[in-house]
Amino acid sequence: MPTLHATPWRLVKVCHMTHGARLQCFTLKWPANCKGGAERFPSSLDSHPCQTSGSALSSTLPPMPLTPPAEPDPEPKMNWASFYAVISGVNRHSTGIGRIWLSVLFIFRILVLVVAAESVWGDEKSGFTCNTQQPGCNSVCYDHFFPISHIRLWALQLILVSTPALLVAMHVAHRRHVDKRLYRLSGRSNPKDLEQIKTQKMKITGALWWTYVISLLFRIVFEVTFMYVFYMIYPGYKMIRLVKCDSYPCPNTVDCFVSRPTEKTVFTVFMLAVSGVCILLNIAEVVFLVGKACSKHLHNAGDSTMGAWIQQKLCSY
């Protein structure tokens, strides 16, 4: 193969959209005899040229941690406390309304669930009594009228509703990774600058805005879906005192009595009310973000074509 008498390096222009939706470009040196990956970020200029040509694609995807880095724990426990640690990490990048939503979620829903509601439903099966001595009838009737307990439905609802916030955390981690790389490549790699990237608060603009709004929409959809599922399984939100059951092996229609129906109704209504409050907070947050984006691009409409495009997309109705 004839050797080319070209310079061993070639100059590559790499551009990146910053948080403020501005285009920022750097000129980098990339080994000229390497194929592939030139249009993406090279992993390191100090590494052997072409070492990463095969893995250039994989090296461009930054690690996306699902959880913020935690202290090493020999026995990570899966309980509401560790869940709280994960979700409250997202708090820094939320709006004010998002923080209020998180507090309402943890204090009025998870805390009340753990300290109060779980003990009310604790004896739901042992306290469920049917007016018969036929073995098996109690179990069958309980299973027929309570396919899934309220407590489990609420636990699932709380987990699913909190999880879209992790989308935002992943996006922020990705952005930080990209920023760190750019800093290193442009020569500003002292530890102080890299620390600053970690602690700086991201502005909710550009792609992060879309991620945030999508996570809010998912939250609303999950909340409403669970409320609907609740209504379908337990129509009326009120816990009845007495159910009549005639499934096999019950001999005929037997009366079965539910334990603590009034207390259960009180807590069901409470949890549904707080769920409604959370939906309203999420809707308010979506309206706030959309309004802020509209007003910002109305002001910047003359500055850039992007502004005009967004203005047309968001505010033309």
């Binding site: 509401w80 406390a81 109060a116 003990s119 306290g127 009594t129 079965c256 334990s259």
Partner: protein, 221 residues
């Protein structure tokens, strides 16, 4: 997410309270939350399983229990403690908002190295209770008083006083006629109810004293 987590949140907000506020927080957590968790919950633990009615009719005990105990004391106290703790978080949120606003102002004004030291002092400083913070704090005290009073009144109305009777008479269907039902540990429950009501009143007195102190301070200023 449990009482310790709530405690951690409130202690953070405690820095901006008056001394009476700090005393109130200690009374709340030592004499109410801790007593609830270590003592009262075990007294009420067998409230339904040991509720015995003088009949073999299945379902009668469930129905009579539900009629005389619509909401258990323990749950009422849990909700009361959760609601009473929440106004403090209002104050914490306001302080967080103020710090954020001051930080932004500082970033715009100073552009040199002393900015970092200023930011640190900003985080660590204790805000004087004046102006909008005074109003937020006073509102949180009023809400605390309302919640305490509201829950104590609810307990009094639902259970007709603070005493737990030994025997209740019930004739709800399916009980065949008027049956006697016996409550488990009535004296112990009465003692704890009175204790919690007393602790609640002390907290209300502390809140009223704190409110009076704030008003007096504002008037003299």
């Amino acid at each position: 997410m449990s009482w310790p987590a709530l405690y951690a949140q409130l202690v953070g907000a405690n820095r901006h309270s008056t001394s009476l506020g700090k005393v109130w927080l200690s009374v709340l957590f030592i004499f109410r939350v801790m007593v609830l968790v270590v003592a009262a919950e075990s007294v009420w633990g067998d409230e339904q399983s040991d509720f015995t009615c003088n009949t073999l009719q299945p379902g009668c005990e469930n129905v009579c229990y539900d009629q005389f105990f619509p909401v258990s004391h323990i749950r009422l106290w849990c909700l009361q403690l959760v609601f009473v703790s929440t106004p403090t978080l209002l104050v914490a949120m306001y302080v967080g908002y103020r710090n954020h606003r001051d930080k932004q102002r500082l970033v715009q004004v100073c552009v040199n190295k002393s900015q970092e030291e200023e930011l640190e002092t900003l985080k660590k400083r204790r805000l004087p209770i004046a102006g909008a913070l005074w109003w937020t704090y006073a509102c949180s005290l009023v809400f605390r008083l309302l919640f305490e009073g509201g829950f104590m009144y609810a307990l009094y109305v639902v259970y007709d006083g603070f005493q737990m009777p030994r025997l209740v008479q019930c004739d709800q269907w399916p009980c065949p006629n008027l049956v006697d039902c016996f409550i488990s540990r009535p004296t112990e429950k009465t003692i704890f109810t009175v204790f919690m009501a007393t602790a609640s009143s002390i907290c209300m007195v502390l809140n009223m004293a704190e409110l009076a102190y704030l008003v007096a301070k504002a008037v003299t200023r």
